[in-house]
């Protein structure tokens, strides 16, 4: 699926929830079921700076597509990571760079975009795009 289709899928999925509690419960569920990151990639080098909770993110290129694995010590953050990975993992670097991300606002999680969250989600998206730039250069 394309990034946009995945975004739409998530928006639809969240549209069934009636209030913030259901949304957050789902987010927490997603966080709990986030596949483990390979321990050897959970290094200080892979920590994303500027988040209140610790976030490790690793990327590798497989068949011209980017594969992300990540982890956090906070469960809500893990839920957010799960969503981001769902959208961005297994995509071509170029598509990642071209993408416009708007699902977060539309599923009622826009508070996570505020700079007062010490940029948690904003930093993650930035990091994902940095990886895309790096691997894109490698592909060319």
């Amino acid at each position: 699926m394309t990034i946009n289709e995945l975004q739409n899928e998530i928006i639809e999925e969240f549209s069934f929830f009636e209030n913030w509690m259901e949304r957050y419960e789902h987010l927490i569920e997603l966080g709990k079921s986030l596949p483990l990151i390979d321990l050897k990639n959970k290094t200080d080098d892979n920590i994303i700076k500027g988040c209140q909770s610790k976030v490790w993110m690793f990327a590798e290129l497989k068949k011209n597509k980017l594969k992300f694995t990540a982890d956090s010590d906070a469960i809500i953050t893990k839920g957010i990571i799960a969503l981001l990975i769902r959208v961005f993992s297994n995509q071509h670097p170029k598509d990642i760079l071209d993408s416009e991300i708007d699902f977060i606002d539309r599923i009622g999680l826009k508070e996570h975009l505020s700079p007062s969250r010490a940029n948690g989600m904003v930093s993650m998206i930035k990091q994902i795009k940095m990886y895309a730039i790096a691997f894109q250069t490698q592909l060319n």
């Binding site: 913030w20 957050y24 927490i28 209140q52 909770s53 906070a74 809500i76 010490a118």
Partner: protein
């Protein structure tokens, strides 16, 4: 005693709804809310007598100057300061600390020592690290004991003839513990060291008598004590302030300027370069008035009740760990729930309209000490209520259930 329902009327923001819930503001250690009187004093200034101060011969400038200088007098009275010119208006605690740290560049020699406590806010650590780097002085640290209080025996051991400055907060922002500054000051003075007290967390909660405690330097921020953002003050003994060079160059702080030679103005102007935060300085005075109307003793008593009430309730919840246990504490509780990240708890509480702070609270060394990524911190003010604490406890239980 305190009539909290009456007091809450002075703070219209407390009637606000957040995420559909009544706002419960338990983030007072980060910044306090402001009573209408203080807010209105700012509008009043801009609507009625806004002008640049100190040099104008016209009426508005006079009125603005008089009001601004009146605030200096209110600070003098409130903190029992001997001379008006020992009070420097700053943009806040951080600015005040940096004035002293920068000034001490010209006083410290290689090998001199500065003692700082392990309980400090970054604002009271980093400037001293920078100073040590510039001068080759050595930074020594008063360690903390497991329950969070300063290890005074260890302090005695590191204090010595080379110690030039001891810097310590009156109250720790991360844990809320009140430090025994009288003992620290007396001991430091015996060794000829000066002492800087960071009053950012204490001034809103109890009165500090600067002369009685024989404090050498004192700093605080208005925004923590019902005043506006962007203003605070530095107190320094006249002799000591005369000893250190100005921090910033600019208007107001000079008496004579030629391209050959510039001479600096007398205290306090030497340290007050540029147009100050005039509305902020004036409103700072109104904030002190307001606190004094209520009475800091009443505030302390009431907040202490809230502290006890909430601590007891928290202790009834499983797996809660509170950091910093001491009788000498202001109404701040820093805690974690086992196995749950502080950020997660803060996020859920926010959805319930409850504002708490999560994270390191700009005090990373304390977090490193406990080997935790951060805490949830609730900090009370005299306008909070037991009922709000009840709702917070219910919210916390809900959050724990969701997050487990």
């Amino acid at each position: 005693m305190i009539d909290v329902n009456k007091i809450r009327k002075d703070f219209p923001i407390l009637r606000k709804k957040v995420n559909g819930q009544n706002l419960i503001y338990f983030d007072n250690a980060a910044t306090s809310q402001k009573p209408s009187k203080v807010i209105n004093s700012i509008s009043e200034y801009y609507f009625n007598y806004n002008a640049n101060i100190h040099r104008g011969v016209h009426f508005l400038s006079q009125e603005a100057t008089d009001q601004y200088e009146l605030s200096r007098k209110k600070i003098q009275k409130h903190f029992n300061i001997s001379k008006l010119n020992e009070i420097i208006f700053t943009s806040g605690t951080t600015h005040g600390i940096n004035i002293v740290a920068s000034g001490y560049s010209s006083i410290l020699r290689k090998g001199d020592e500065i003692i700082v406590s392990a309980l400090e806010h970054h604002s009271n650590i980093v400037p001293w690290q920078m100073l040590c780097e510039r001068t080759g002085s050595v930074l020594r640290v008063i360690p903390i004991k497991m329950e969070g209080s300063l290890d005074i025996n260890a302090f005695h051991k590191i204090l010595n003839g080379k110690t030039k400055l001891v810097v310590v907060n009156h109250v720790s922002n991360a844990l809320g513990l009140i430090n025994p500054i009288k003992d620290i000051i007396d001991m430091a003075h015996k060794f000829g060291s000066k002492v800087l007290i960071d009053g950012a967390q204490s001034a809103a909660h109890f009165k500090t008598d600067i002369q009685l405690l024989d404090i050498d330097f004192y700093v605080t921020s208005a925004h923590k004590l019902c005043g506006p953002t962007g203003v605070g003050f530095l107190y320094g003994k006249e002799l000591l302030l005369n000893e250190i060079p100005p921090f910033q160059g600019g208007g107001e702080m000079i008496s004579d300027v030629t391209f050959q030679k510039t001479t600096y103005a007398d205290l306090p102007h030497k340290f007050e370069a540029g147009t100050p935060n005039i509305s902020g300085g004036i409103a700072f005075g109104f904030a002190l008035d307001y606190l004094n109307e209520i009475g800091l003793e009443n505030i302390a008593n009431y907040e202490n009740e809230l502290l006890k009430y909430c601590t007891n309730k928290l202790n009834e919840i499983d797996d809660i760990e509170i950091y910093g246990n001491s009788k000498n504490k202001i109404a701040v509780i820093s805690f974690n729930v086992k196995g749950i990240h502080a950020y997660d708890i803060g996020s859920i509480l926010d959805k319930l309209g409850i504002a708490v702070r999560t994270g390191q609270h700009c005090a990373q060394p304390i977090m490193d000490f406990y080997q935790i990524p951060g805490t949830v911190r609730v900090s009370f003010s005299f306008y909070n209520t037991k009922k709000e604490i009840d709702i917070f406890i219910l919210g916390l239980e809900k959050a724990i259930k969701m997050l487990r």
